[in-house]
């Protein structure tokens, strides 16, 4: 969608700093977004327009062999096959992405901790290929990795424990959980995860992405309805699709939109037949990784209870990173984990490991153990990875007898508030919740995506920039991930450089008129329906 509503010039913007709803929230919910200034929106569209025109021009020149074509090409023997790619399919990649692709996939060669080392690479052919110079850009401040609690470490208790397990078990498992791959280590981890989450039972999987895409199909099917936030992660979308259930999408974090869908679904039943839905499953995330917003969980739970729907909560970014003791978004709002039917999360972020988990009631987990695609067909988790999770989780829980974990959780919360507050003061447009360690800074214009990424690396700071299709077309942004491992000095250096680059690229768009996310206009008459 082109988000044309961003263009609407709202002369009487109301400023709401706190949007609370009927006393459901036990704490202030400070989440706001600032509308795209109209001039910026117009210029951004123009920017894409010009890029597209030039794209066509250059495609034309390539066609006539005036410009050199760097694309890999089809084999001679297969030139008469149906082309593997349609021409327009790669238009965007060829003409827009290629210009700025040096801002992505930057190889690193150290721990992805508070600082990391980046391999220097240069391109002599406008980013079609890269050459490694052999030099290493050292001690770059890492504002890009999801290392929320700083557990990406090569020494210390977690790494030591993982090393010991590597010596004993080796790297792989060579079998599935259902055949010969359920190790004692897996059982230990699952007990600990259940305890950590405050649920009856838990199960773990080797990949966070697959945890969603290979378990949702076990929970919903034909005749079921899945209500999914429009900004949900690709893995949730894929899982929903593979399930065969009908999918409807509600506006991001918009409870009116969700309630309308719930109500309509129950009143109207399934399309055509009007048969009642078998069950309704709501898919939401704890922290949205591109938006920095936190799910309005108290309201979602109230709705799911009112309408007897089931709730699937993906805590990939919020587990460890939110809540007074790092238990995630449920603890953050002071809610009961048993009110969430399916507690899902990943170990790739706060725990500095890999994989995902699902927690919930005993019956749910018994069913998943026997029906999860992952349990039956995928190789189980590598033992050293399991050990990294066990030790980091125990550390967060204080089971190691120290307060290291607890301190890190606190440090992250402090760093987050400090970093976000300073950026806002500088005049950047920052999306999301004040407590979210995911901090999107709006860039808008396509030319600024590459410029920001490069300028920051020149100043020894590694940042992530994202544009279409990961974001709406005009809402390109930089994204910082705050970590407990960042010291105040590091954050100050980063802030100083961001401010300088912000001035250089004229990124300080804010007019300090934030509007709560809830007030983003939404079109309530149409929604998507997928039925296959």
């Amino acid at each position: 969608s082109l988000h044309l509503h961003g263009l609407q010039f709202n002369a009487q913007r109301q400023v709401h700093y706190i949007a609370q709803n009927g006393g459901l929230y036990k704490r202030p919910f400070n989440e706001s977004f600032e509308e795209t200034p109209m001039l910026v929106a117009v210029l951004t569209y123009m920017g894409y327009g010009i890029l597209t025109l030039f794209g066509y021009l250059r495609d034309f020149l390539r066609e006539w062999k005036i410009e050199k074509c760097h694309n890999a090409t089809e084999r001679e023997e297969q030139k008469d096959f149906v082309p593997l790619y349609q021409d327009f399919e790669n238009f965007y990649t060829r003409n827009l992405y290629m210009r700025i692709r040096d801002s992505w996939n930057r190889p690193i060669c150290s721990v992805p901790g508070a600082r990391f080392d980046v391999l220097e690479r240069i391109s002599y052919d406008y980013n079609w290929t890269f050459n490694y110079t052999g030099k290493v850009i050292q001690d770059v401040i890492n504002m890009g990795s999801y290392n929320y609690l700083g557990f990406a470490e090569s020494f210390g208790i977690c790494a030591d424990a993982a090393a010991e397990v590597t010596e004993k078990y080796g790297a792989g498992v060579c079998s599935t959980r259902q055949e010969m791959g359920s190790l004692d280590k897996h059982e230990e981890l699952e007990e600990l995860v259940a305890q950590f989450l405050g649920v009856e039972a838990a199960m773990t999987f080797g990949m966070g992405f697959a945890t969603n895409s290979m378990n949702i199909p076990a929970l919903a099917g034909k005749g079921c309805l899945i209500l999914s936030d429009e900004l949900n992660h690709a893995s949730l979308v894929l899982g929903a699709r593979l399930s065969g259930a009908t999918i409807r999408v509600f506006k991001h974090n918009n409870m009116q939109s969700l309630e309308k869908l719930l109500k309509d679904a129950i009143v109207h039943g399934q399309p055509r037949t009007h048969r009642p839905w078998k069950k309704i499953l709501i898919l939401v995330e704890g922290i949205y990784s591109m938006e920095g917003s936190i799910v309005r969980l108290p309201e979602v739970i109230a709705l799911k209870k009112k309408y007897k729907a089931y709730l699937y909560l993906d805590e990939a970014h919020s587990i460890g990173a939110l809540g007074p003791s790092g238990r995630g978004v449920v603890e953050y709002f002071g809610l009961d984990p048993m009110d969430v039917d399916i507690m899902m999360g990943t170990f790739t972020k706060s725990f500095g490991a890999a994989g995902g988990y699902i927690g919930g009631r005993k019956e749910l987990l018994a069913y998943l153990r026997s029906h999860s695609h992952s349990a039956v067909y995928a190789t189980s988790m590598s033992p050293p990875i399991v050990e990294q999770i066990i030790t980091s989780m125990k550390c967060i829980m204080g089971k190691d007898g120290t307060t290291i974990g607890q301190d890190r959780v606190q440090q992250l919360a402090e760093n987050t508030r400090y970093f976000r507050g300073r950026l806002k003061k500088m005049g950047f447009i920052i999306y999301g919740n004040d407590d979210s360690p995911v901090v999107p800074l709006m860039l808008y214009m396509p030319a600024k995506i590459g410029a920001f990424g490069r300028e920051m690396l020149k100043r020894n700071i590694g940042v992530v920039v994202v544009g279409f299709p990961a974001t709406p077309i005009i809402e390109s942004r930089a994204r910082f991930c705050v970590s407990a491992a960042h010291t105040k000095e590091m954050l100050d250096v980063a802030l100083k450089e961001i401010s300088e680059v912000g001035d250089l690229l004229q990124l300080k768009y804010s007019r300090h008129k934030p509007v709560p996310l809830l007030d983003r206009p939404f079109d309530e008459t149409t929604y998507e329906e997928t039925e296959d």
Partner: protein, 472 residues
């Protein structure tokens, strides 16, 4: 009168003049409408204005959903899975009993290899455990690039791409190329990961009988006739044949030379899943292409996991850059998931080193496969399914007892008999309701180079004994 006829001619000429515009507009609207119908599927639900608010509330009040999950009986075999204490090596402790492992896909015994472990350890001390990001966002480590390079060299292809999860490899690769409206010819025995990739692709599927080239050609011919009726559609419909090197579900090898003939005759691309054959078949373990002496460039895409022969975690695809590079922006499991932990990449690199230094290992494995395969022939009531050189093959009941449930129980009794006598085996597990063509229940025997001749003989003898004990 004059004015009237004037008006008439004027209208007529104007109408004629306007006609193309009308046409264009009408056709435009029609096309938009069709596109909308075809793709968006966005529509308003019928408003039920006949219902009052109160009636709606009653409907909401009355609606009772099904439980989130149906109850599972405690007896369900999946809830009574094996627990392995300690490493799942050649010697394995299953449910407290020490056994020889005939169940893990550790064909080359690299799981316990000290060199592999040391490589993983060194890597751990350099990079830590997790990568804390997908490949695009600082999740690309130098070891990932090295592993991709090494895999490409090992397979003698232009490029390789690694995934952090074996299952996600082919399941992500298929939908990166094959889209809605495209055509996929797939073997009925294709493994679950292929099935899920196909489902995600939303392509049109044509299943051919397992390894039956005549049946495949019949489908291709049918399609050819179809194409002649609608050449315009045919020109944009991509087509693929998806097969496995050695089939996970049957242990059979695919007839690759015949498949290639069909590929060029009918202009269909071939994707090959080699999780079982990579690091097993061929003189250097390159897989089924080497086994048949086929130019690897004739295969459009090869995928395999690194969880069997390489005894690590993850998977890879390899082929020409023209094909493979596309996944770096379109492979869902590649783009939207954290990258492979560097220590596991390092383990895989070391495993590749060992494979390259000891090409004999593949012939040793082959001999062991043949040995136990031969000895398991002729058990009354059971049949061996799979090639004699396949390190994973199946033992099925010759005659079903009548229900799948009791077949499974019977096979489990045979396995338990063996486990009690120090041979660890497992049944091949499937999701009965989710498999497109559910394979019959079976015991999957896995051979590894670590098994000695005595152990192979013992296992075969024991299985025979267990079958006799339980089947008669």
């Amino acid at each position: 009168l004059r004015t009237f006829s004037d008006l008439n001619t004027m209208l007529e000429t104007q109408f004629l003049f306007l006609a193309p515009a009308y046409h264009l507009i009408l056709e435009g609207i029609l096309i938009l409408w069709i596109v909308r119908l075809l793709f968006s599927k966005t529509y308003k639900l019928q408003e039920r204005s006949d219902l009052t608010e109160k009636e709606k509330e009653e409907l909401i009040e009355e609606w009772q959903p099904e439980p989130l999950v149906p109850p599972v009986s405690k007896e369900h075999p999946a809830l009574n899975y094996n627990i392995v204490s300690g490493p799942p090596n050649h010697k394995i402790v299953v449910n407290g009993k020490e056994c020889i492992n005939f169940a893990s896909f550790n064909f080359l015994g690299l799981l316990a290899n000290e060199r592999v472990k040391n490589a993983a350890l060194t890597s751990l001390r350099k990079y830590g455990v997790g990568t804390c990001g997908p490949r695009g966002f600082y999740g690309t480590f130098d070891v990932h690039l090295e592993l991709e390079d090494r895999l490409a060299k090992f397979m003698r292809t232009e490029e390789a791409i690694i995934y952090s999860y074996g299952f996600a490899t082919i399941a992500s690769a298929i939908p990166a190329y094959s889209k809605r409206g495209d055509l996929v010819f797939v073997d009925e025995s294709a493994c679950f990961a292929i099935q899920k990739g196909l489902q995600a692709s939303r392509s049109n599927l044509k299943y051919f009988k397992h390894n039956d080239m005549a049946d495949l050609e019949r489908l291709l011919k049918e399609q050819e006739a179809e194409d002649q009726k609608n050449p315009r559609k045919a020109r944009v419909t991509r087509r693929f044949i998806i097969v496995e090197g050695l089939y996970m579900n049957t242990g059979n090898i695919c007839p690759l030379p015949e498949l290639l003939k069909l590929k060029y005759k009918y202009k269909v691309r071939i994707f090959l899943e080699e999780s079982l054959s990579f690091g097993v078949l061929g003189e250097h373990g390159q897989g089924v292409t080497e086994h048949f002496g086929i130019n690897i460039d004739d295969i459009d895409l090869i995928s395999a996991n690194m969880e069997n022969s390489l005894a690590s975690v993850g998977g890879f695809c390899c082929g020409r850059s023209f094909v493979i590079d596309h996944q770096r922006l379109s492979g869902q499991g590649y783009c939207f998931s954290a990258s492979l932990p560097p220590m596991l990449a390092s383990a895989a690199i070391e495993a590749l080193n060992i494979m390259e230094e000891n090409p004999d290992i593949f012939s040793v494995l082959r001999e062991k496969c043949q040995r136990i395969h031969n000895m398991l022939q002729g058990i009354s009531g059971m049949k061996v399914v799979g090639e004699s050189f396949s390190p994973a093959f199946h033992l099925q009941l010759e005659k079903s007892t009548g229900s799948r449930e009791s077949d499974v129980k019977l096979l489990q009794a045979i396995i338990d008999y063996c486990t009690d006598r120090q041979i660890a085996l497992t049944q091949a597990r499937y999701l009965d309701k989710d498999e497109k063509f559910l394979p019959p229940p079976s015991i999957r025997v896995v051979v590894s180079v670590e098994q000695t001749e005595e152990e192979l003989d013992k296992a075969a003898a024991l299985i025979k004994e267990a079958a006799q004990h339980n089947l008669h």
